[in-house]
């Protein structure tokens, strides 16, 4: 029996659902079309791939401790809380030989220095996308309060992000829990609201390309995708006062009974070619340095996805908020929107 027949037969057998399984719960649009099928073929596993749109949605499912998922992708500021809640399984580095593929800044990230609970996956920042035909370039968050943008400005529909922008214009940390600072930030948001056309997340991409929106607070991923579609019309800037950085990580749930398979999956994602394929599809920035040589030049030197270090130094990671601070922020956010 030659290798090809064996593979096809194996794939068919696996597809019939008789092989062992792995349940992966990820953000939508975060893998390449052949990432999962290739993994299934190589390891003889069947992967059930589910997606979520927000962390609270994922948390609600996994908090019970018997959700059925094995691998999840929490954002950096949720790793410590989830660990405290006893939801994560400790990683076995013996099964993850290629951790060194990670970019140096992610080998000992602030939220998990020993990489005991998570492995950084994709990262990014938030900044400003704008139409070049504006005639001027918004280079700071405070530029988004300029009345020239009235009716053609969008902000993210994400309380931490909007507060981050407002806090930064006042010179505060974007993780501030100080009620006075937060209230001042809220006042700025309310002052800006008449100029805002809408609060949009990833959907703003198409409106930027169509020209409906002149400037938008946007994630680097959305910006990279928009600029790729209209390179001569759109540009991106990392605000001068500082900007948020985020990182999504892979982690394994403690309830999982398939620890070894889950580790194999993580190691598989760390492979340079696999990571490179994912980046090419999703246009995100991988935390995997070994993948860079396999990327096309255009992606590797994309200033939006891979900015130089001095720009990144202005960025600030999101950290977990205390319950009281979360409460206050939520109340202030409701008042902004009302």
């Amino acid at each position: 029996m030659n290798r090809r027949t064996f593979l096809i037969g194996g794939a068919t057998a696996v597809a019939c659902g008789r092989g062992p399984r792995l349940n992966v719960f990820n953000w939508s649009d975060y893998v390449a079309p052949d990432t999962i099928p290739n993994f299934e073929r190589e390891f003889g596993l069947r992967v059930r791939y589910g997606t979520y749109e927000s962390i609270p949605e994922m948390l609600a499912k996994v908090m019970s401790g018997n959700s059925g998922w094995d691998v999840i992708f929490p954002s950096a500021e949720y790793i410590q809380p989830m660990r405290d809640m006893g939801l994560l399984a400790r990683l076995n580095h013996a099964w993850l030989p290629n951790l060194s593929n990670l970019d140096r800044q992610f080998q000992q990230p602030p939220w998990d220095p020993g990489l005991e609970w998570s492995v950084p996956y994709m990262h990014g920042s938030t900044g400003i996308v704008y139409q070049k035909n504006l005639g001027w370039s918004p280079r700071a968050w405070s530029d988004l309060w300029d009345t020239r943008l009235a009716g053609k400005l969008t902000m993210l529909d994400d309380p931490p992000e909007v507060f981050a922008a407002c806090l930064k214009t006042l010179g505060y940390s974007l993780n501030s829990a100080d009620p006075r600072q937060l209230k001042a930030a809220q006042q700025r948001a309310i002052a800006q609201k008449p100029l805002v056309r809408a609060y949009l997340n990833a959907e703003v991409r198409d409106q930027l390309i169509a020209g409906d929106v002149a400037a938008a607070q946007a994630w680097a991923v959305t910006a990279a995708q928009a600029i790729a579609a209209a390179p001569d019309r759109l540009a991106f800037s990392f605000p001068s006062e500082g900007f948020p950085r985020y990182a999504d990580n892979v982690a394994i749930l403690r309830e999982s009974s398939r620890l070894e398979a889950a580790h194999h999956f993580i190691a598989y994602l760390l492979r340079p070619r696999v990571a490179a394929a994912i980046v090419e599809t999703t246009r995100t920035a991988a935390c995997n340095a070994a993948a860079l040589p396999f990327l096309p030049e255009a992606l590797r030197s994309d200033p939006v996805l891979y900015p130089p270090a001095e720009i990144l130094a202005r960025g600030e990671w999101f950290t977990p908020q205390s319950a009281a601070s979360q409460r206050l922020r939520d109340r202030l956010w409701t008042e902004i929107k009302a």
């Binding site: 809640m85 609201k193 609060y199 409906d212 205390s322 319950a323």
Partner: protein, 274 residues
Amino acid sequence: MKLRNLFLTPAAALMVVTLVAPLAIVCVYSVLTRGAYGGVELPWTIENFTRLWDPVYGVIFLRSFWIAAVATAFCLVLGFPLAMFIARSGSRKNLYLSLVILPFWTSFLIRTYAWMFLLRDTGIINSALQALGIIREPLPLLYNDGAVILGLVYGFLPFMVLPLYATLERLDPSLLEAAADLGARPRDTLVRVTLPLCAPGIRAGAILVFVPCLGTYLTSDLLGGSKTVLIGNVVQNQFTAARDWPFGAALSLALMAIAMLLLFAVRKRGEELL
């Protein structure tokens, strides 16, 4: 009356499991405290209810009622003639009824995106109007209350048409003939014979539209640009991003109490909805 009890039992069992028990949980949650990362924990507190007196929530409630009422009125005005047309179309009744329902078997989300596509500044409606020279600058058709109401009417029209059709369909044509014989003009017949006889259907339709409109959040998010928050948005937010289940529980209990009061206020003796 054993048959009656037999018929009621399955529904009763289902309601206990899918409604009564979960609502009991909601009531319990509303007097607990928010867990740090979602979920609930002790101590017991009524703080979630005292928080409701904050005027910002009153404003939001009022705006939500206003929008729901306007949307319901439009649904009634638009849906009644359509239901009448279907009820009188003889052998093609089911076909026309299905044509009303058919769009609603595609995803509500996709239909909403289709409307966003139509209403945008660079969308088809504005482009057509500009091409015809009727306007010079694009009209702001999207991201305002009008767009939200349009989305709600579009989304809930079948909930008005179906109950209306159910009552219109069995309307005895001889009653209308009798009215005509007695000298009534078509409009008088409509107002003084047809409408009163359809009152159960109108009430049913109005409730099936108004109440979900009160709790809507997707439409105001997408078509309203997430700029104005309705009570549904606030509740949604508590169960997701804000992770404050106890406050969300208290808020929705308040919303449900007000809606139930309204329902009981408008019902007529002998004409209950349920």
